[in-house]
Amino acid sequence: MRHRHALLSLVSLTLLAACRESKVESYRVPKEKPEELPPGMAAGGSPGAPAAPGSMDMASTTVPTASGSDLTWTAPAHWKAKPAAAMRKGSFTVPGDNGAEADLSITAFPGDVGGELANLNRWRGQIQLAPLSEGDLRGVTTRIEQHGLTFIVVDFANTDAAGPRRILGAIVPYNNATWFFKLTGPDALVAREKPAFLAFLQTISAPAPAAP
């Protein structure tokens, strides 16, 4: 009988192996810094959701778009396309000298995503610049109308930091969504890329409406 008990307990242990516990947990953690992406929505989320082990990047996912129609663009030849990550419509690496790199991200979100001022201040926070007030907006933004779209273009640089950084950005409301085009990286590289970025903005257009 003693042995039978031993066998039974072993079988029970084997059966237990099939169980995994799911329980609610609660804990307190220090506040996290806002995430880099996306502007206007970042507040401690996790856009870099993990990929399966061994993979280079997370699976590309379709980002919410209005009626399935996306803005289109043509990137300069020297920008290297990266696989689109979650919520990114497009992603490019802009190479510079001595291994320096800037990142061009294209994201789109429903609605106004907190408004122009909140988004621009979020960008400023990412390069440790003080936030702007509503009254300052006119002085720092350039509005460009083209292809039926309105571009709010900004150029923010923090040259006081140990590693000077710059953000060139454009916010484009389109079809009940807000599109963000942001080039961020070392000050010198991003400043050098400004003409290419502005030329890139000129290639952005909405798809032509379908023929009736």
């Binding site: 042995h3 039978r4 031993a6 066998l7 072993l10 242990l13 084997t14 059966l15 237990l16 192996a17 099939a18 799911s22 609610v24 947990e25 609660s26 804990y27 307190r28 953690v29 220090p30 506040k31 996290e32 995430e35 992406l37 996306p38 929505m41 970042a42 507040a43 401690g44 989320g45 996790s46 856009p47 870099g48 959701a49 993990p50 990929a51 399966a52 082990p53 061994g54 993979s55 280079m56 997370m58 699976a59 996912t61 379709t62 980002v63 919410p64 778009t65 209005a66 009626s67 399935g68 990266k82 979650a86 919520m87 690496t93 291994g99 790199e101 789109a108 429903p110 609605g111 009940n176």
Partner: protein, 385 residues
């Protein structure tokens, strides 16, 4: 001993059972290897090895039928078979000490696999240069995080595993002044912005949800893809519903709301495991063979720090040189671009068992062959003398 017990004993100690189990395990491994093409490694492990039975769903229904013994059943029976054979059939003598040691090694190997299945946890840690994290994230599991952000220094988090959302269990937690009710859960879904016309109204009434349509997708099993769950979650306070939110790891940040004089955020994210220490990525290096894109070596220089200041040092992790710390092993697993490292974080308290069992099997075989060799030499000497 009555007849039933004797029958049980005879069944478990028989060599025939050993042979049948070994044959079944070979078929299981073969079928699982072929099925990796369809399911990928994770699902194959769950379906064939971390299960008592391999289940097959009757086409067109959700009814599962057990069609073959799974890894836990075969492994469990092998373990019982091996132990009971030793208890009832074998007698420990010096001449058979090698066989005993080898079998003890095998028993330890089977127990080790069982404990690994029970205890092992795998997470990943994704760090950009300069970034500090004190948590690792699950590859496969997600959680609904409801965060009280009222305190200016701390966040109070209630994390609900997505399995509970999938079960649609109402959740009442002492740290939440409302109940969490799951209205819908999709294990994999595509999110798109709602067209101005034509879509059905959303279940969501608050946050971003009303502007997004959710299309359920079939589960993916490919190794380089992941499932993106989504759920509609309703929060219900004493005075009624606060609203229904759409949550998904595809939405990149938790959605904010105010309730009961507190600021809250709600969102679904990869399941997190917080640690009592933090790691900051100082430098990620990625070397390739000259003139090619083939990786030669990649390494991460990190700064490890505990809150109590007991540890404050630099560590270097590179291929085949993991960091073992606080019961965790950090492997250099992958990278994303030139400045982001991806570390695999594994907790497996039984990681030493396979090494010990292999050493025992090897030593047992050496002892057994040694005993035979000495006996053989002795006989030859006696014959020639």
């Amino acid at each position: 001993m009555n007849d039933t017990v004797r029958q049980f004993r005879d069944f478990f100690v028989s060599l025939r059972l050993t042979v049948v189990l070994l044959a079944l395990s070979m078929i299981l491994v073969f079928a699982a290897t072929l099925d990796q093409v369809n399911l990928g490694i994770w699902a194959v492990q769950e379906k064939y090895f971390h299960s008592l039975f391999v289940l097959w769903r009757i086409p067109g229904t959700a009814i599962p039928l057990p069609v073959f013994p799974g890894g836990y059943l075969i492994g469990g029976f092998l373990l019982v078979n091996l132990i009971s054979a030793h208890v009832y059939r074998f007698k420990l003598t010096w001449r058979k000490s090698g066989i005993f040691l080898t079998h003890a090694g095998l028993i330890l190997l089977l127990i080790g696999e069982l404990l690994t299945g029970l205890w092992q946890e795998e997470f990943q840690l994704r760090l950009k240069e300069g970034e500090t994290k004190s948590y690792a994230e699950s590859y496969r599991y997600n959680e609904l995080a409801i965060i009280n952000t009222t305190d200016p220094k701390f966040d109070d988090v209630v994390a609900i595993p997505d399995q509970l959302l999938a079960d649609q269990t109402p959740i009442q937690h002492p740290h939440l002044p409302f109940r969490v009710m799951t209205k819908e859960y999709y294990p994999n879904a595509d999110l798109r912005m709602r067209a101005s016309t034509g879509d059905n109204p959303s279940l969501a009434t608050a946050g971003l949800g009303p502007q997004i349509t959710v299309t359920p997708l079939p589960l993916t099993y490919k190794q380089d893809e992941r499932n993106w769950p989504a759920a509609f979650v309703e929060l219900v306070g004493p005075e009624g519903s606060l609203g229904t939110w759409l949550v998904s790891p595809q939405l990149p940040a938790p959605q904010a709301f105010e309730y009961g004089g507190h600021s809250w955020r709600i969102g679904m994210r990869a399941q997190r495991a917080y640690k009592p220490f933090s790691l900051q990525l100082e430098k990620f290096s990625h070397d390739v063979y000259v003139g090619t894109d083939i990786p030669k070596n990649f390494s991460s220089r990190l700064h490890l720090q505990t809150a109590d200041g007991r540890d404050d040092r630099e560590v270097l992790i590179y291929m085949n040189n993991p960091l073992r710390y606080a019961g965790l092993t950090f492997y250099q697993a992958s990278y994303d671009g030139e400045h982001t490292t991806i570390l695999q974080v594994v907790r497996n308290p039984s990681w030493r068992l396979p090494y010990i069992s292999c050493a025992m099997v090897a030593l047992g075989l050496i002892v057994q062959f040694g005993i035979h060799l000495i006996g053989f030499i002795g006989k030859r000497r006696a014959a020639t003398a």
